[in-house]
Every structure is written in structure tokens, then in C-alpha cells.
Amino acid sequence: QQPVQSPQAVILREGEDAVINCSSSKALYSVHWYRQKHGEAPVFLMILLKGGEQKGHDKISASFNEKKQQSSLYLTASQLSYSGTYFCGTPAGGTSYGKLTFGQGTILTVHP
């Protein structure tokens, strides 16, 4: 069962902050985050593992709340280059190990 992302779209001005949420109805073992530019393949941002701490990648960081079965991606002081569609991915784990499904995506647009 694929994770659910919110919001569906965000529009920002350069320098503003944004939060993208990812939640699942099933237990999460890890959460992947990827960014896809228009017409290109998704590119890895970071993975958060169960029991791991908050990760960071430049001015993009993320948290993972195992009890609430959700993760959040934080984009601070956004840049034009942050524009794109962000996807969270969650492995099913258990007997379905290897089954990596993605949320529907959040479109982020950063204006000058």
C-alpha cells in the first residue's frame, strides 16, 4: 500500500520554507525521499531508517516518526533549484521485502 503525501503542491518565493509530509497506514521500516525535475529521472535525496536520527542534505532535512508512521521533509531558505516533484518511498518489509512503493508526489515551485 503506497504512502500518502501532503500537500499536493506548494508555491514558494526564494528564501521561504516548506514542509512536505508522508504518512503510511502500515508500519514503516524506512522512508526514502527523491526529487524529480521535469522530464528527468528521480534523484535520491536521503533515507531515514527506523531508530535513526534526523538526516540533512544541504538545507534539506527530514524526520521520521515511527510511532505516527510518518516522515516530514523540511526545505529551508528555498532556492530556485529546489523546484521539482518530491516523492517519498516506503519499503513494505516483512514477507514483501523489496516492494518499494512511492507516494503520489508533491509539486514544489520556487519563484524568484
Binding site: 521500516y29 529521472a41 528521480p42 521485502y97 523489496g98 516492494k99 512503493t101 512511492f102 508526489g105
Partner: protein
């Protein structure tokens, strides 16, 4: 480094025709995946594999078949193409389900 290579990049098929989308990776990854992405939509898992000889269905397997005879290759077969299979297809690979997934550049398929 080649990473994940998909061929062809573009293809137009007529309704009822069949074809194989090729995917090969040179990173010795055990896990491989096939996704389809319809315009403006998220990534839907078609099939995945956790090693040579082991494949399993994802969220949208109908109309597709896969095989995994080697670690490197994970071809996707479309039988009796239908307009609903018009999409961009991405192949990806990872060492485990909790490590970075590397995506190929995609195959843009149109069925007319």
C-alpha cells in the same frame, strides 16, 4: 560509471504489438524495480525483484511480465500493447530496500 541503463529511450507501438523494455545495471545490486509514470502522476510499481530468479508483482502488474535470469538484467515484457500502457517507464536498482535506489533515464512509450 554506467549505473542503470534503459533501452530504448522512445518507442511508438501499435495496439496489439509486443515489445521488451531492457534494463541493465552494473552496480551488482540485488534489488531491481520497474515503475510506470503517467503524465503528472506518481510512480507506480509494476514488478520488482530481490535477486536473480526471484520476481514479484507490484501495484499494477496486469499486461506485463518480467524475468531475472542474471543479477544485471531485468527486462520488462509488454504483451498485446494497449493505449492504457502509454506512459514513461523507469527501471531502478538498489543494494537493499533500505539503500539508495538508482533510476535509469526512462523509456517513453506511446501506444497508438
Amino acid at each position: 560509471n554506467a549505473g542503470v541503463t534503459q533501452t530504448p529511450k522512445f518507442r511508438i507501438l501499435k495496439i496489439g504489438q509486443s515489445m521488451t523494455l531492457q534494463c541493465t545495471q552494473d552496480m551488482n545490486h540485488n534489488y531491481m524495480y520497474w515503475y510506470r509514470q503517467d503524465p503528472g502522476m506518481g510512480l507506480k510499481l509494476i514488478y520488482y525483484s530481490v535477486g536473480a530468479g526471484i520476481t514479484d508483482k507490484g501495484e499494477v502488474p496486469n499486461g506485463y511480465n518480467v524475468s531475472r535470469s542474471t543479477t544485471e538484467d531485468f527486462p520488462l515484457r509488454l504483451e498485446l500493447a494497449a493505449p492504457s500502457q502509454t506512459s514513461v517507464y523507469f527501471c531502478a536498482s538498489s543494494y537493499t530496500e533500505n539503500t539508495e535506489a538508482f533510476f535509469g533515464q526512462g523509456t517513453r512509450l506511446t501506444v497508438v
